[in-house]
């Protein structure tokens, strides 16, 4: 019964999305205020119904209703209840419904929190969101229905959830990632609404900015969580593999970052208009393309869903309609827009342009690295692989100038900046960064590792510069303590995000160069030494989980004769899915991780063990979290909270606008 209610809710949601796509758009052309005013209740209803559908699916999973095909093939009665719930978005069908629900949630949020927008704009934005909803709900409903039943014959036991997904990471990673992905639909809708309306003043950018920030915040967290999850679950200590699916989430992030910076220019200076609109379209287009790549099976990836060409065809058609249509509209409308802003070569505008140039180049690198093998093969030139060595090589060359620029950026004023006043503080920052990086490395590690040194230098430069700039700005705003309180939240946000980037760069460089590992065969009582840590295997015993068996190893870690920690590593076997999973034992500290993975049993009895010491690997995720926190701070800035105009006033404005247009 419950799955049928879910199905029905999804059908209602589909009907509402169709109305949302049509009615306000009609209103925006005919000037019908009543049609425009309908957008808000339609959007909220859309969310209520798709939310109900998602809840029904979760209910079916929670109660192990194996008459539903989706439940039978992705869950089992032995699965712990929290994984039963998350299994509802573990499959293609379920995750599509989650995607739809989140898209509807964003639509409803836009409807609720855009009261300060003119009615026309509001209607157009929600209309565009509605159109995107139509596409995805139809896909979910007609091409990958999560509620399909297998009556009258159904299995007594499900096939269980993919063990890789039975992890805390699965509970939080997909929702966060999707909130981020789909969130770019809002900036996209703003851009399209502006294109339809043909008005590109800076108010458009001001409206779009907080929404973009919010989407970017969640995407950052989602990607970081995915990386952290892979690190813990895959058992080889990797945190990024440049897999097509990872890249699919990284591209919208890069363009989203560029968009945030470009929006700042458009809001503050009224220039870069056509560029910002293009980025807003590109960010969401790349999200859509990511969905296509993951679900169509055109690329081989460790994470991709079971693929089906007809689904791929549908998504490609939708992609063509949405992205092709918006780019065409862009070409038609944007060539008339010119910005008249004046700025010198050494100005914040130009530096932010530099930021955009590097981010876009990085996006192109990821894009080519992901899709070039496909192009190469389709052109009959043979199969090639593109992976870590290629990306590392190119990102190495991109990060250096980008970081240098990033350290400089916040100091430089809009319009025009004279060099001399900057020389003193920047020299100071550079000297400080040099001392810090070289001093630290000389004291603790070694200066021989070039990459580590470079990473620390760049990180220290960006971080010190961000701190120095805040300090200077606070001084200007009336002294040390007073100035700090007077600084805008968005300024703090920027600073924090830049420090986050610095932390990330240091983390990546240090982990890449200074990690050590050993593959050993251990009997009980054996000790392996790595970087001054002595790992002793004290016990190995059989595991008895709710839906898995396997072995667990206990290790004691000593350093200089003192006990550091106790580690517990597992190797699980999931009989229903016939897969083996490594649960690595990790002891995390800010300066290093100890990481042990239990391998297969060898004769003896002894066990293959992989032991790592990974310096600064935490900094990678810490950097990501700082960036997200920065976005949160910026989001809390006062200027995004203005009193909304009363509906009556807006109705009068809209009517007046249309009457005016008729007279003209």
């Amino acid at each position: 019964m419950i799955p049928e209610i879910g199905q029905l809710s999804l059908i209602f949601a589909f009907a509402l999305s169709c109305l949302l796509a049509l009615v306000p758009m009609y209103g925006s052309y005919s000037g019908s205020v009543r049609a425009l005013l309908l957008a808000k209740p339609l959007a909220i209803g859309l969310f209520l119904f798709s939310g109900t559908a998602m809840a029904c699916l979760m209910y079916a999973f929670y109660h192990s209703d194996f008459t539903v095909i989706n439940v039978a093939s992705n869950s089992s009665s032995m699965l712990p209840w929290y994984f039963q719930l998350t299994a509802s978005f573990g499959s293609h069908e379920g995750s599509m419904l989650l995607w739809v629900t989140i898209l509807a949630l964003w639509t409803a949020l836009v409807a609720l929190f855009s009261n300060s927008l003119p009615l026309l704009m509001q209607g157009r934005i929600l209309g565009v969101m509605g159109f995107i909803c139509v596409g995805f709900i139809a896909f979910s409903l007609f091409m990958s229905n999560p509620f399909e039943r297998s009556l009258p014959f159904f299995p007594v036991e499900g096939r269980d959830l993919n063990p890789l997904l039975q992890d805390f990471g699965m509970i939080v990673h997909p929702p966060l990632l999707y909130v981020g992905y789909v969130g770019f639909a809002v900036s996209f809708a703003f851009a399209i609404a502006a294109l339809i309306g043909g008005k590109f003043d800076s108010t458009w950018a001001r409206w779009a900015r907080p929404w973009t920030l919010a989407a970017w915040l969640f995407l950052t967290l989602g990607i970081m969580l995915g990386s952290w999850w892979a690190y813990n679950e895959l058992g080889w200590g990797g945190w990024w593999f440049w897999d097509p699916v990872e890249n699919a989430s990284f591209m919208p992030w890069l363009v989203g970052t560029a968009l945030l910076h470009s929006l700042a220019v458009t809001e503050k200076r009224g220039t870069f208009k056509s560029w910002t609109v293009l980025l807003a379209i590109a960010a969401f287009s790349l999200s859509l393309m990511g969905a296509f790549l993951v679900r169509s099976g055109v690329l081989v990836s460790v994470h991709s869903f079971a693929s089906d060409p007809s689904r791929g065809l549908y998504l490609l058609a939708f992609l063509l309609l949405v992205v092709g249509g918006s780019l065409f509209l862009y070409a038609l409308r944007m060539n008339a827009v010119r910005s008249q802003a004046r700025y010198q070569l050494f100005s914040r505008e130009v530096l932010l342009w530099g930021n955009n140039v590097f981010l876009l180049t990085a996006t192109l690198v990821v894009f080519l690295g992901t899709l070039y093998p496909l192009f190469h093969k389709e052109l009959g030139l043979g199969s090639i692989s593109i992976g870590e060595p290629f990306f590392n090589q190119l990102f190495y060359y991109l990060v250096i100038p980008f970081s240098l620029l990033l350290g400089l950026g916040p100091w430089v004023r809009w319009k025009q900046q004279q060099l001399p006043p900057l020389l003193k503080p920047l020299t100071l920052v550079a000297l400080l960064a040099l001392t810090l990086a070289i001093g630290y490395l000389a004291a603790t590690q070694s200066l021989a590792a070039n990459l580590a040194l470079l990473g620390c230098l760049l990180g220290a430069w960006v971080g010190m510069s961000a701190i120095g700039e805040v300090y200077q700005r606070a001084q200007q705003l009336g002294g040390f303590s007073l100035g700090f309180t007077r600084l805008q939240a968005s300024h703090w946000g920027m600073t924090l995000a830049h420090i986050g980037f610095a932390v990330l760069v240091v983390g990546v460089a240090m982990t890449k160069t200074l990690s050590v590992e050993k593959d050993v065969r251990m009997k009980i009582g054996d000790t392996v030494e790595l970087n001054g840590y002595h790992f002793t295997l004290t016990d190995v015993y059989a595991l008895n989980g709710p839906n898995y068996g396997g072995q667990a190893a206990e290790l004691e870690v000593f350093s200089n004769g003192e006990k550091v920690t106790h580690l517990h590593a597992e190797k699980r076997f999931y009989p229903l899915q016939k897969t083996v999973m490594t649960e690595a034992a990790v002891h995390a500290r800010l300066s290093r991780d100890l990481y042990v993975a239990l391998g297969e049993e060898l004769s003896g009895p002894s066990w293959a063990m992989r032991v790592y010491v990974k310096p600064f690997v935490r900094w990678i995720w810490l950097g990501g979290v700082l960036m997200a926190l920065g976005a949160l701070l910026a989001l809390l800035d006062k200027r995004y909270r203005r009193a909304p105009a009363h509906v009556d006033v807006k109705v009068r404005e809209t009517t007046a606008a249309f009457n005016g247009a008729e007279h003209a």
């Binding site: 895959l234 080889w236 990797g238 593999f241 897999d243 097509p244 081989v300 990836s301 460790v302 991709s304 004046r342 700025y343 010198q344 070569l345 130009v350 342009w353 530099g354 955009n356 140039v357 590097f358 876009l360 180049t361 192109l364 690198v365 080519l368 690295g369 070039y372 190469h376 052109l379 030139l381 043979g382 199969s383 090639i384 692989s385 593109i386 992976g387 870590e388 060595p389 290629f390 090589q393 190119l394 590992e517 050993k518 593959d519 050993v520 065969r521 251990m522 009997k523 009582g525 054996d526 000790t527 392996v528 030494e529 002793t536 295997l537 293959a608 063990m609």
Partner: protein
């Protein structure tokens, strides 16, 4: 004769070491799964198994995969590294059998050069756009605010500088 001697003395040293250490530590040192002659060879092996792609798997390098092919390739890599082959030789060996597909770094050839060229062109192109814009802005500003006096002064200064320069330079 010599290698045998060495072997003997090494075994003897190990025995001595074991005798000395046994009372001090209750534990024995774990042995490496794949022993190498030196740290360089070990590092090379790690690098190679991370950069070689398992041809059967979804998208994994041979270090992380347990498919039969990946295990065989790891073993072959181990043998070749121990024989003293360098990175290029091992990769060539694998490419002869499994094609370019097997290496995560694409070869540089006319069909793949765009992987490096396209980002470079984009980078250059976007900076060029900014410079073009700047030139336009400069022109606009010049037409906006032409101060005849300043212009004259500047012109005079330029001429003076030119004259000085040419007088210093020998013909």
């Amino acid at each position: 004769m010599r290698p045998k001697m060495q072997l003997f003395s090494r075994a003897f040293a190990r025995l001595l070491l074991a005798l000395c250490l046994c009372p001090a530590f209750a534990t024995t040192a774990a042995e490496e799964l794949l022993p190498f002659k030196d740290a360089q060879q070990q590092a090379l092996y790690r690098e190679l198994t991370a950069e070689l792609r398992c041809p059967k798997c979804q998208n994994q390098n041979i270090a992380d995969s347990n498919a039969v092919v990946a295990v065989d390739m790891r073993e072959k890599t181990y043998q070749l590294v121990q024989q003293g082959q360098n990175k290029e030789q091992v990769i060539d060996y694998m490419k002869q059998r499994y094609g370019d597909f097997v290496h995560y770094q694409p070869p540089v050839q006319w069909s793949t050069i765009w992987l490096w060229l396209a980002p470079l062109l984009l980078l250059a192109g976007l900076f060029w756009v900014m410079l073009q814009k700047q030139q336009k802005v400069q022109q606009l500003q010049q037409t906006d605010a032409v101060d005849p006096e300043l212009e004259q002064k500047l012109q005079a200064m330029i001429e003076q500088a030119m004259a000085e320069k040419s007088s210093k330079e020998p013909d």
